[in-house]
Subunit: 440 residues, 2 copies
């Protein structure tokens, strides 16, 4: 574990913010070094210039060369802003008791290190692995995995496998790991308006239109206060949750009070409670304002009429929502409501994906999780997004998420951390998954 | 004029951003130095610690010690942000042909220098001034002149006068100065919402409320898209424009096309045209978004659910709107619409003021303006705000704005400039005002 902690700290100390193209190449090289240290063959794969490379690793099994397990992870991290809310510098990787702090400590450098160390432990103690292992470690996950589909197509043969262990897995407040069978999709857009060619004195607001008002009027038509999206046909292709899925959701524990306390909130969107809240996590689409900026945002008063306004919106998509179709529905909506002056920039779209709970890979992973953590929980779909759809589509392999990310570990927020006890249990769990998978 | 230009450049090069308390004391000292250089007695007046000082100047007239003219100006400037839109550094004071660029070049350091140089010219050429002169130069105008009322009360005797020349005066696209008889009031507020105690991963938007959505829903009830304010009783005490006022407005030239071209816009708020547009500038109240910020506003995508959202709103007030009353109406409105969770911070409120067009001071100033510029235009009220109300109330003196500020000189915006030809004409105009005022 000392070695794991030290290597994780080293990884955190190498910033790798894909949104800003900060430290990406350096971090890829560091990951390759760690793969080689574990005993894997490793190479840096490239699509073309300007695209973050994939770090690829491979170990052929002597005892079982017929079955291949893939570990999919990412070495990039979210931006660390707002810096002033961090207790320690975001890339310090400081260890305090059972926790290691830093941007990426959990998401995804902590997860990645458990996979690498599991393989390393197997190779060092037995000289072999129970099945072939492939590492696919990308560098654009936090900006939406824009090129993973192209990579999967280009390296389809190299990446062929029989099962994929996803880049993360949540552990709940009672230390139970979630065995996740799906991910939501994502559509990230920027809407903007320009009225005047520049900022003006706000006294002119009697005549010059305010772009912030315009944008607010426009986006206020997108959803109601309960979170329902009001864009025409947004939910058209969506099926309601199956009986099987509902059964799994009903069994899932969810402590509303712990969750509310953690975020300091009193009620949920649309005043959801109990099963409704659990169903929302698995199956609700969202229209979330990730950022809004216009005019003067510093301290004090400035009587300015801004020239432009911009909002960043992320829509979480559920199965059967096609990102491209949803973009055209959004455009049609704004036009039909009289807002054809609103400019739309699409950052990326990604469809949702789910693996069927009846697949044998599910029980192999669940058994390993139960054994290493005590008890695990089955989950139909994570509330978050990952590029699971192209893996399922192109590699035709089942994908399951299981890992070490404590659900209140503040991923994407200041003071993100990883718990050392969970890193240890997850490393053990990864060994058992290889074992169960290789021998069945 | 060389001396005037050099002194103005020196003033611009001393930043004095009241919103950030940057360079205030230093600029006050510099202004005092310039007053002394002109031949005035000068002192720095203070209210208490933490309040920007007033630079006071005085010259007693030998030929006419019975009448006193006050020049009211300010030495503070607006913040220079966004810095990257300036062609030259905002505090460089660079001269290019007929223009001097920099934050404060027109508003208000350009205006101030014309008053000082007019007095200096009179004293140097005749050894006297045609009436007593008082300079009241404050340092908090751009943050709303929060303490000018207290200063006027404290120094009521020292400041007593028979007429006030206001801190600015616009010059239109055809080089005609505006003789302004009034100012609108201002109410600057910050509305904010906190939902979660911190930013969260945006996948949790299915359950955690988004403060940006909440704030948008709330403020979208404040006005309609034509700019009409929907807060109950907002216009209750307001009278419509008098026949006299309407007559003056009708005579006012206003070139819609030049205005629209300057700002790159095609139509006005509420599609106003002709007389309606002119009436709006004089007499419409506004609810303007001066700034809105929430979540991630940097480059690229970040899937974050913000913990809080904040909007800065400035309401322009028209005569008989009491700022305190309007604040309580705003609070009542939000409460009645179900938004009692929205926090309100009031930065300041200031009532509107107007001087009657029949006052003899008006014709004295207008005659001086006609003579020095060729032709001037009478204006019932400026669209902007200044603390004219306490001057009229406490000093019982008529206030008139006349000056050198070209109406497209980008005050409060990047690349603010002053035109040297107008600085020259205004200096001459100030001499003539002293003359007309002293001899009548």
């Amino acid at each position: 574990m000392d070695d794991l902690v030290a290597d994780l700290q080293m990884l955190i100390r190498q910033p790798s913010v894909s949104a800003k193209n900060e430290g990406i190449e350096e971090c890829a090289k560091l990951v390759q070094k760690l793969l080689k240290k574990s005993g894997a063959k490793s190479e840096i794969l490239r699509l073309r210039k300007g695209v973050a490379p994939i770090v690829y690793g491979e170990i052929k099994s002597k005892q079982n060369p017929e079955k291949t397990l893939m570990f999919y992870n990412h070495y990039d991290v979210q931006p660390a802003e707002p810096f002033d809310l961090w207790d320690d510098p975001p890339f310090s990787g400081v260890k305090k008791g059972n926790k290691i702090f830093g941007r990426g400590a959990s998401d995804d450098k902590g997860e990645l290190i458990t996979r690498i160390k599991a393989v390393e432990a197997y190779l060092k103690t037995t000289g072999d692995v129970p099945c072939n292992i492939k590492f696919v470690i990308e560098g654009e996950e936090e900006t939406g995995s824009e090129h993973i589909e192209d990579y999967l197509k280009k390296y389809k043969k190299k990446f062929s496998c029989d099962g994929v262990i996803w880049e993360f897995g949540y552990v709940d407040a009672k230390n139970r790991p979630i065995v996740g069978l799906g991910m939501k999709g994502l559509l990230f857009v920027e809407l903007s308006v320009q009225e005047s060619v520049r900022d003006a004195h706000s006294s002119l607001a009697v005549l010059i239109k305010n772009p912030a008002w315009r944008l607010i009027e426009a986006i206020n038509t997108l959803r109601n206060s309960d979170g329902k999206i009001l864009i025409k046909d947004w939910y058209k292709e969506v099926s309601s949750l199956s009986k099987n899925d509902l059964g799994i959701i009903q069994k899932e524990p969810f402590d509303e009070n712990v969750f509310k306390k953690e975020f300091g909130i009193k009620s949920f969107v649309g005043n959801k409670k109990g099963l409704e809240a659990k169903k929302a996590l698995v199956g609700d689409a969202t229209c979330n304002i990730a950022g809004f900026v216009s005019g003067y945002t510093g301290d004090g008063a400035k009587t300015v009429l801004p020239g432009n306004a911009l909002v960043k919106i992320d829509f979480r998509l559920i199965p059967k929502m096609d990102p491209k179709k949803q973009v055209s529905r959004l455009k049609k909506h704004l036009k039909s409501k009289g807002f054809s002056d609103i400019r739309i920039k699409v950052f990326h779209g990604e469809a949702a994906a789910r693996t069927k709970s009846s697949h044998p890979f599910v029980s192999q992973v669940k058994a390993a999780a139960d054994k290493s953590f005590g008890k695990s929980i089955l989950n139909v779909s994570n509330a978050g997004t990952g590029p699971m759809h192209p893996f399922v589509e192109i590699l035709k392999a089942p994908c399951i998420s299981i890992g070490s990310t404590y659900m209140f570990s503040r991923i994407h927020s200041p003071n993100e951390f990883a718990r050392i006890d969970l890193l240890k249990k997850t490393t053990k769990c990864m060994c058992m998954i290889m074992d169960n998978f290789g021998k069945n």
